[in-house]
């Protein structure tokens, strides 16, 4: 048999039907559901008199809309409230597992999937959210889908797909001190561009990837979509198995050992063919900061805001000019001179306990700059509890950070956590699109360490020199 990539293996083992001239019907092992992209799907089922085919493979939570402030108070935004209540009702009516706003399992869907152990190697995983790519960190094929496809998966437990191509991003060497998984993925997107992965599933390989914790791997896979990729994935190894051991939904004891043996066979075969290969030297990387309005517009913290006139062609020049105008930045400004109004630490990219520990190590016994409003939003209730057990919340609060309840929060500005027009943020989230964090808001994407240091200094600083 021809050597296969990990993606090929997972794809092939999930084919329900593969007729000539038709797209493949693929079986889905896990369907994650949230309040924003599901109401129309459930309504579609109801209108057609259909049921959820596999409620046992469907898990729902509320994350996008929920307030991150005191949840014993009523939700002020009536439309948000209605969307949350609609999922409450749909979960009950269709009999699916549901972590509601007050549940100890609630959190960002891409944080709770892994921490509950629903996310496992070899699975096909979908969610009506583009950052579903996160789960690929476990060696799963995980992809974002639209609401019609959500309805399709609810009704059939299958997805109709054209097979994407294989792409390998090999990250050689090791990341230098102060350079994180977030910097790595920002560097990758900067190199291949926001359309660089379109039509492909990216497998991240190489020494630097192997050295990452599961949290770091999730950060990398999470932002695969920002390079346009259908999914991102990393072969499971001892780091993966150690993470999964004892997670509530993972088989235990002998069944766990048997599962591990199976998971080990998922890795790409030696000699497996990728349609595209990109190599990156991790040892050359630095902390990165985005300067523009898409995640490919990034530069080193020691760099300057680029001059649009130096770009290759007219459309890139125009896009850079528009981005700088929106961002309120002058060409050639040193990144370290950019001052900030807000700092947001959170999102499905960087809100896990490891991220919060890194932040705590930077801000311990320091104070948030007087001109900065800084909030920390844990990825899940579980993360929040763990952080509080470790005393991280005291470190944050003593430093002047707001310590919030779990949710998507200021990553996409659907709840009251938003930037005001013209406000500038350092954010650990994944998108710096115009208005992403609130109309007129200006977002700079960075690692949790860089965001933490910027909150204290009031402007960007090179975290490698932090004392």
């Amino acid at each position: 048999m021809q050597p296969q990539t990990m993606f090929d293996k997972i794809w092939n083992s999930h084919i329900v039907s593969d007729e000539v001239g038709k797209p493949t019907i693929l079986y889905i092992d896990l369907h994650l559901v949230h309040e924003v992209t599901s109401p129309q799907a459930f309504e579609g089922l109801r209108l057609a008199g259909r049921k959820v085919r596999r409620p046992d493979l469907t898990v729902a939570t509320v994350d996008h809309n929920v307030p991150t402030t005191d949840r014993s108070l009523p939700i002020i935004d009536q439309i948000s409230k209605k969307q949350i209540e609609t999922l409450d009702m749909n979960a009950k009516e269709f009999g699916i597992t549901y972590f509601d706003m007050f549940s100890s399992g609630q959190g960002i869907v891409h944080v709770i999937g892994p921490e509950q152990g629903y996310t496992q190697p070899g699975k096909t995983i979908v969610c009506g959210d583009s950052h579903t790519a996160t789960h690929g960190a476990f060696g799963a094929f995980a992809l974002g889908i639209g609401t019609s496809e959500v309805e399709h998966v609810l009704a059939t437990q299958c997805l109709v797909q054209q097979k994407p191509k294989n792409m390998e991003i090999r990250v050689n060497g090791s990341l230098p001190f102060g350079v994180t998984a977030k910097d790595l993925i920002l560097a990758i997107i900067g190199q291949i561009g926001v359309g660089g992965g379109v039509g492909h599933v990216i497998e991240y390989t190489g020494e630097a990837i192997r050295s990452l914790s599961m949290a770091g791997r999730m950060t990398v896979c999470n932002m695969s979509i920002e390079a346009g990729a259908r999914a991102g994935m990393i072969a499971p190894d001892e780091t993966t198995f150690e993470y999964l051991r004892d997670k509530p939904q993972v088989p235990q004891g002998e069944s766990f050992d048997a599962a591990v043996e199976k998971w080990k066979s998922l890795a790409s075969d030696p000699g497996a063919k990728f349609d595209k290969v990109v190599e990156i030297d991790a040892s050359k990387l630095t902390p990165f900061v985005s300067w523009g309005t898409n995640p490919g517009m990034v530069t080193s913290v020691s760099g300057i805001v680029p001059d649009p006139e130096t770009f290759n062609n007219d459309s890139e020049k125009a896009a850079a000019r528009r981005a700088l105008e929106y961002m309120g930045l002058q060409p050639n400004t040193p990144i370290k001179e950019i001052t900030l109004d807000k700092v947001f630490i959170g999102s499905c990219t960087n809100s896990r306990i490891e991220d919060l520990r890194s932040v705590a190590s930077i801000v311990k016994d320091k104070k948030v700059n007087a001109n900065v409003n800084a909030i920390i939003v844990p990825g899940s209730f579980t993360v929040k509890l763990k952080a509080e057990q470790e005393g991280l919340d005291d470190i944050f609060k003593n430093a002047g950070f707001e310590w919030r309840e779990a949710g998507c929060s200021m990553c996409l500005g659907m709840n009251p956590d938003i930037l005001q027009p013209g406000e500038r943020s350092a954010s650990t989230s994944n998108r710096n699109f115009e208005g992403r964090q609130g109309p007129g808001g200006r977002t700079h994407l960075v690692s949790p360490e860089m965001a933490a240091a910027a909150a204290i200094a009031g402007h960007f600083v090179d975290v490698r020199e932090w004392k």
Binding site: S17, P23, V36, Q157, V198, E226, G228
Partner: protein
């Protein structure tokens, strides 16, 4: 779903690359629980379609007089990048667009269009450029015919270019079929697959 076979309509040009779904429809407007009514929020980020007072921004492409009533949108590469929100095609459809032409699309957006009876067409950059110039310069409104049956774009000035699309998707669009019904015809295969599990 309304079948789409052949349409002739006005073309609007949006000469921008990487137009992301947060621009097509900002997250703040994703809270409706229906599929309809999103057109009013299309491109509603500050500086795009509307002025701060809510009136149309005269500078914005789609507000040009000769683009009014457009059903065909021609845009730059990587159109629809970012979020999986199907509210993006819903907003474009509700506004009136049925066909979108671009040199490339983001994958999820591309799939989402087909699910709603909209046709995204990938064309080489030079053809996109020609169409943009025609749409921009013809001030009485530039009309294009999109023939899905024969996979051909034509206008009355002699422009003609063929395009490719997935034939299964083409058939679904032409018949107005939705995927769920088609997949459920494979009920036996799904059940057989499920028996191999566990």
């Amino acid at each position: 779903m309304e079948p789409l076979i052949k349409i002739t309509g006005i073309v609007a040009a949006l000469d921008r690359e990487n137009v992301d779904t947060d621009q097509i429809i900002p997250a703040i407007h994703l809270k409706r629980i229906e599929r309809t009514g999103f057109g009013q929020f299309l491109f509603s980020q500050p500086g795009w379609r509307f002025l701060p007072d809510g009136n149309p921004n005269p500078e914005f492409e789609l507000n040009q007089k000769h683009y009014q009533g457009a059903t065909v949108l021609v845009a730059g590469k990587n159109f629809g990048s970012g979020s999986s929100r199907e509210h993006a095609p819903w907003a474009l459809l509700d506004y009136g667009f049925k066909v979108i032409l671009a040199p490339s699309f983001a994958d999820i957006f591309f799939n989402n269009c087909f699910q709603n009876g909209m046709l995204p067409i990938v064309l080489p950059e030079n053809e996109i450029k020609k169409l943009m110039e025609k749409a921009q310069s013809k001030l009485e409104g530039y009309e294009l015919t999109v023939d899905l049956e024969n996979l051909q774009l034509t206008d009355t000035d002699g422009f003609s270019v063929s395009f490719v699309t997935d034939m299964f998707r083409r058939d679904c669009l032409m018949q107005g079929l939705d995927d769920i019904g088609i997949t459920l015809q494979n009920e036996n295969k799904i059940s057989e697959y499920e028996e191999t599990l566990s």
